[in-house]
């Protein structure tokens, strides 16, 4: 069983204060100076995959885990960590182009990779990234590969050789289903899926495993063409204004403030319901 997990390194946007967004209505937004993290949904995809592998070790199924990203060398730090955590292969497609708003290109590169280095039985990835907010990549990968796609995944485990039990949340609620391979799993808000931490010993024993660096060329991808073929194109950016009155209730203690809030703003409304 060969599983490919896709992830993206993004700036931790939670670290930015709102004032920093007011001046940035230019294209592209500069986020290079913000601390990098694994995109939150991708992090969940990585951990859920490791959890699945933990369980299958007991079932003695052969599982090969590969992690893949597209980007610049700073991603290697994360790939090394994944090697230490038990991923058998790690790949980075060297690409310094700004593809934040080109999920088509990303999906195309992934598909080219999966066809050349595959076949894979499962592809797991996050359903959305925090900078592009496109929410398209997983779906496009499924379409390009003509695979089914399960969205909003919160967990999965192997049931049989080509059968995976997948829990996901869709518009009808929480669902559990048996999925035949191959399939794309687009991971959503999956509780308790923080990526585990490798020990120094893990890191040391994975030290001589190499990260495979792949060129776009070798995958037959032409960036110019991919940019031309993008189905939508970002034209402009604008700030979002969420400002409201912000009336501060003053008082000498929390209790007094709460009382004022209750008397002035809640009591009448609560009793009129």
């Amino acid at each position: 069983m060969r599983i490919l997990v896709l992830f993206k390194i993004v700036p931790d946007l939670d670290l930015l204060q709102d004032k920093e967004w007011t001046i940035k209505n230019t294209l592209p937004v500069e986020t290079a100076y913000v601390k990098k993290i694994i995109n939150v949904y991708d992090e969940s995809a990585l951990e859920l995959t490791l959890k699945m592998a933990d369980h299958s070790i007991n079932n003695k199924q052969q599982i090969e885990l590969s992690a893949f990203t597209i980007g610049e060398p700073h991603a290697d730090l994360f790939l090394k960590k994944l090697l230490a955590l038990g991923f058998n292969n790690t790949y980075r497609v060297q690409c310094s182009a700004d593809l934040r708003f080109n999920p088509y290109a990303i999906a195309y590169i992934i598909t080219a990779f999966a066809s050349q280095y595959g076949p894979y039985d499962l592809i797991a990835m996050g359903m959305q990234s925090s900078d592009g907010d496109n929410a398209k990549t997983a779906l496009l990968v499924a379409e390009m590969l003509t695979w089914p796609c399960i969205t909003g995944v919160t967990g999965f485990e192997l049931r049989d050789l080509d059968l995976v039990a997948v829990r996901n949340i869709n518009d009808q609620g929480l669902v559990e289903q048996l999925v035949h391979e191959p399939a794309v799993l687009a991971v959503g808000n999956a509780p308790c899926s923080l990526l585990r931490v490798p020990t120094l010993r893990d890191i040391k024993s994975a030290a001589d495993q190499e990260i495979a660096i792949i060129s776009l060329q070798s995958l037959g991808c032409d960036l110019k063409k991919l940019n031309r073929q993008n189905d939508t194109e970002l034209e402009s950016l604008n700030t979002v204004n969420n400002t409201r009155a912000g009336l501060v209730i003053e008082g000498t203690s929390a209790e007094e403030k709460a009382r004022l809030l209750y008397e002035k703003h809640l009591k009448g409304w609560l009793s009129s319901r």
Binding site: P11, L15, L16, Q17, A32, Y33, V34, K35, K36, I37, P73, H74, L77, C192, L194, L195, R196, V197, P198, T199, L200, R201
Partner: protein, 479 residues
């Protein structure tokens, strides 16, 4: 213990009223530990004897009455304010201890901007004082990472230090006067004067006592003009800690005073600066103060660093967002707890100091030994964050996965052996085993080695001021 628990509580209620004497079992559990035992606590395991009560005095006379009562009856008192202690200073190791919590004494008594000093009660959170000062254009210059949570009593009691210490100094350089209550009920006020030569400086009996000699009720600190518009933040990556130490030494020796002077090794650097560190050490400096001084300081720093070719300058915005998110508040603590529970990965720190000639040796040997001797480590690294003319500190950061052991075994299996390595190597090399978190309860085994022949002075203080031994037993002085 001659007194029964019920009588003890009755006595406290008589002094403070029943509202201020808390005996809720959940509160007592939480109050039996501090951050040092948070792994146990997170798993609902409490290994220390629970205190009999947590009490909230409202003024110095109540503090005096409680302490006198405790002295008379031989009740162990654990003073506390912000509860951010990291070294076990808040652990209640004696059956039926009383936690004396000063956090409701939180008035800012006076901001005296003419004489450049501010007076407040022990329970004032530093953040509250600092925010109020900044509104008026002033600052305490004190900026420990725990600023949003720590309170002035605890900050003075632990000899704390902030991120701008290289310019403003540690808390001992800031306190001009204070009020403290001793176990016999004596209330002592040390007046606020610029300096005096009227015998030994008795402030130092109080500063850093960690609740083992007296209870601090009021503090007056210096204030400074707040001029953030003049700040110049500088950052570099470099290959070696050794080079970094040498640069810090030169800056100090040449007489410059940046406010921030921080040197991270590769591991710690990768943790904080994944967006640019790139497997390098990281050096961060900030020049602040009056414009001309800040500019001259920055210029000199650039010159000194520039002479070391391995240093590569980093654009300021790369450090600015890190700098803006440096402090820890209640939410960060909650987030950390959730993460520890989920990943079983926990991080702690040990901070030491030594002179320039020694610091790098201690750094190298400790890192090497922890890596080799302690299982399941996930990160061993450190940074220097406070420099002086004759040396600097080292803040070791050690993270591990807790594997195959019960929550209550975590400290024995991992944390103590790590502390032991760092403390012993440091003392052997002539450094100090505690730079700013205090001794707490987990470094007391080495306190005599730390002091050598001067331990006589320390011990005599304890015997003189706490003859009944009721003040925070097991802290600083072996229990």
């Amino acid at each position: 213990m001659s007194l029964k628990k019920e009588q003890l509580i009755e006595g406290l209620v008589e002094i403070l009223g029943s509202e201020k004497v808390i005996t809720d079992p959940e509160v007592l559990k939480e109050s039996s530990v501090d951050r040092f035992r948070r792994f146990e606590e997170l798993h609902g395991v409490y290994t220390q004897p629970l205190p009999a009560a947590v009490v909230y005095p409202q003024d110095s006379s109540q503090v005096a009455a409680v302490l006198k009562f405790a002295s008379d009856k031989g009740i162990n008192i654990v003073p506390r304010t912000g509860q951010t202690a990291t070294e076990g200073g808040l652990e209640t190791i004696v059956e039926n201890s009383v936690v004396l919590d000063g956090s409701e004494m939180n008035e800012i008594i006076k901001i005296d901007s003419y004489n450049m000093q501010a007076t407040c009660q022990c329970g004032t959170p530093l953040q509250v004082l600092e925010d109020q000062l900044r509104e008026q254009g002033y600052t305490t210059g004190h900026s420990p990472q725990s600023k949003p949570l720590a309170q002035l009593g605890g900050l003075v009691a632990t000899r704390s230090i902030g991120q701008f210490s290289t310019l403003y100094g540690g808390i001992e350089d800031m306190v001009v006067g204070l009020e403290a209550v001793f176990p016999n009920g004596e209330i002592a006020r040390i007046k606020n004067v610029p300096r005096r030569a009227a015998g030994p400086d008795i402030r130092h009996v109080v500063i850093g006592n960690e609740g083992t000699l007296c209870f601090i009720t009021e503090v007056t600190v210096k204030i400074f003009k707040f001029m953030p518009e003049n700040n110049i933040l500088l950052g570099y990556t470099l290959e070696n800690m050794k080079t970094g130490f040498e640069i810090l030494r030169q800056i100090m020796a040449d007489g410059y005073k940046p406010s921030v002077a921080r040197l991270y090794d590769r591991e710690d650097g990768a943790y904080h600066f994944s967006h640019f560190a790139n497997d390098k050490c990281v050096l961060i400096l900030m020049a602040e103060g009056p414009k001309k001084i800040a500019e001259a300081t920055a210029e000199a720093i650039e010159e000194i660093v520039g002479a070391h070719t391995e240093c590569v300058k980093v654009d300021t915005p790369y450090i600015q967002t890190w700098f803006d998110n440096l402090n820890w508040d209640a939410t960060d603590v909650a987030a950390e707890r959730a993460e520890i529970l989920e990943t079983k990965n926990i991080g702690n720190t040990t901070e030491i100091s030594a002179d320039w000639a020694t610091i790098n040796k201690i750094y190298e040997v400790c890192i090497e030994r922890i890596r080799n001797e302690i299982p399941d480590m996930t990160l061993v690294g450190g940074h220097s964050s406070h420099s002086y003319i004759n040396g600097t500190n080292l803040y070791f950061v050690h993270y591990y996965n807790v594997v195959d052991c019960k929550p209550e075994e975590e400290i024995l299996k991992y944390h103590h052996p790590i502390k032991k390595i760092i403390v012993e190597e440091t003392i052997k090399a002539g450094g100090s085993m505690c730079h700013h978190h205090g001794v707490g309860k987990h470094r007391t085994p080495w306190i005599k080695d730390e002091y050598g022949s001067s331990y006589y002075i320390l011990e005599t203080l304890k015997n003189a001021f706490d003859p009944e031994g009721v003040m925070n037993k097991g802290t600083i002085f072996p229990g």
